[in-house]
Amino acid sequence: MPISVEADVLSSKAETVIEAAVLSNEQLTHMYRDMYLIRRVEESLLELAESGKIGGAMHTAIGHEGSAIGMAAALQPDDYLTCTYRGHHHSLARGMDPKRAIAEVLGKADGFAQGKGGSMHFIDPELGLMGANGIVGAQVPHAAGMALASHIRNEGRIAITFFGEGALYQGVMHETFNISQRWSLPVIFYCENNRYSEMTPISRTSSVRDIYMFARAYGMNSIQIDGNDVEVVYQAISQAAERARAGKGPTFIEGITYRLAGHMAGDLETYRTPEEIEAQRAHEPLVVLTRRLLERGVKEKVLADIRTQVEAEVIEAVEFAQNSPWPDPAVAYTDVYAL
């Protein structure tokens, strides 16, 4: 299944215009660094999972990085964000320390939640990261509620929430879309459409082909974009944020992307062929961004240096996390109720 982002879709009726180059080489180079960091952190986590050091459900975002990097550049650092169990990339893009992130996934004392939350519950209020969620769809009303809070307090802050295309038919999504549109809340609904819901392609369970068209039913501004092109994502989210801050209400963005790794560590991946995955590698976010940088005259040497730096940083972070002590068992009994 090729990435189905036709020009006519990008210039769709929705009030969003995607132009060519809008980011400076400096910005793009910085994005490259962050994207490569996310990629390497996720790959390292997969290795740790394969070696049995990570239990439970560990979902990586390898192939999804475009949405996170574009978002971080487009929003204010204090804008609210919620996301799914597949949320490492959003958190790292917003500046979460890889050391504490990896330590949390390993269940260590230096994890941001002392090992209580783990891979599915990334959060850092200081960075506007208001929580990843293990329940499909559950984080979406949270973001709408944060947008409501901002609206009531007149903060000018907006909220963005990320979810997969498979989440569309969880009832709470529908309830939240309607209320958010009716109350014209400053919230952005970003669907990372990677074409699979666990092991099931969306086409098997959805009555609509183009997810973004569905949001139009609520009268919501809605577009479909190439989620693997950070420049496209950046523009779509920037414009949606502008509308939201101007009181024009929510925007639904369907970012077409592809999950290059399994749904979670240990996924047998019997539901797709190696050829399908290979074909997608030609247009994955890191490839798209690298090509863009080289086209714009950035030297491969510059990128190579960045990769070397990042490798070192990630290796250090993994070591830090592995050497981090286990939490004191007493920690298991704290934080049940807030004071």
Binding site: T82, D124, N133, R182
Partner: protein
């Protein structure tokens, strides 16, 4: 002092807290312009306007989740569930989300959220509009649960619930709405701490512990048992289900040596059985006879008046349970 209805007490608590703290706001079905199906939120829309008093669509999971999100960033939402039975269409947002956020994040965030609404039988609403919910809410750590019986406790506990930094289920009972009781004059702050039980009637023969509407049935039963059999019942009003004030409870049982827990939610895995298990865990020596519990019969509430009376753990059934426990004594 003055007397007001239970409804009025709740309405006052919300109004006063909304005046005191602009982060407090209200959401729910028909809570705004109409003032709530049971008129509990009347006149709040007029005073605070549509920004802070929001009529929602019939989307409980959605607006409960939105309230949780707003609470995560410092608002103090009060969400009305028109009937507490409807927690079942938003159970995930209550138990899996609001209740767990603080713990799952190692304390990085709080969810100061109040979920309020009425539950219970006695008015022929049938299976889907009458079940008592406190025992279900009590199964999920992270959410506090209160179920006041008097207007005073209702106002005082609601103020505490709104100021609490955790999700609190504030459970009203449809049979209590028009009951009246004393309340300090307007202006005087009324606060009842969460987690403190209250002895509503002194006695020496048996400790009858209850809360919400069944507490009134327990008190009525106690009076009749006194008149008819000279039995002297102590009635403890739990008021809070989570956390449980076992201290006050055990102090009473120390006097009476006998314990009967009465509640309208199901007996099976209910708060009554929990209280029995706790005392055998923590203070079995206080008991001179086996502790007992009386809950709703193991059926979902039927509509017919005659059938409803039969299965509810009300006066008639409470008296029978007490007499059974005191047979040795009474005899």
């Amino acid at each position: 002092m003055r007397t007001t209805t239970y409804i009025q007490a709740i309405n006052e608590a919300i109004r006063e807290e909304m005046r005191r703290d602009e982060n407090v706001f209200l959401m729910g079905e028909d809570v705004g312009r109409y003032g709530g199906l049971f008129r509990v939120t009347r006149n709040l829309f007029e005073e605070f306007g549509e920004e802070r008093v929001r009529d929602t669509p019939i989307s409980e999971q959605g607006f409960m989740g939105m309230a949780t999100g707003a609470a995560l960033v410092g608002m103090r939402p009060i969400v009305e569930l028109m009937y507490m039975d409807f927690f079942m269409v938003c159970a995930d947002q209550i138990f899996n989300q609001a209740a767990k956020m603080h713990y799952m994040t190692g304390g990085l965030v709080n969810v100061p959220l109040v979920i309020r609404g009425q539950h219970g039988g006695g008015k022929r609403y049938g299976s889907q509009h009458s079940q008592c919910v406190e025992s279900t809410f009590a199964q999920f750590p992270g959410i506090k649960v209160v179920a006041p019986c008097t207007p005073y406790d209702a106002k005082g506990l609601l103020v505490s619930a709104i100021r609490d930094n955790n999700p609190v289920a504030f459970i009203e009972h449809k049979m209590l709405y028009f009951t009246r009781g004393e309340l300090p004059d307007v202006g005087e702050e009324t606060i009842v701490p969460i987690g403190k039980a209250d002895v509503k009637r002194e006695g020496k023969d048996l400790t009858l512990v209850s809360f919400s509407y069944t507490l009134l049935e327990a008190l009525a039963a106690a009076e009749e048992l006194k008149d008819e059999y000279g039995i002297d019942i102590e009635v403890v009003d739990l008021r809070s289900i989570v956390p449980l004030d076992t201290e006050t409870l055990y102090a009473s049982v120390q006097k009476t040596g006998r314990l009967l827990a009465v509640h309208e939610s199901q007996s099976n895995c209910g708060i009554g059985g929990e209280i029995v298990a706790r005392i055998y865990e923590e203070a079995p020596h206080l008991l001179q006879a086996p502790a007992r519990r009386l809950g709703m019969a193991p059926v979902s509430l039927p509509v017919s008046q005659k059938l409803e009376e039969e299965v509810l753990p009300w006066k008639k059934n409470i008296k029978a349970a007490v007499l059974e426990m005191l047979e040795p004594v009474a005899a």
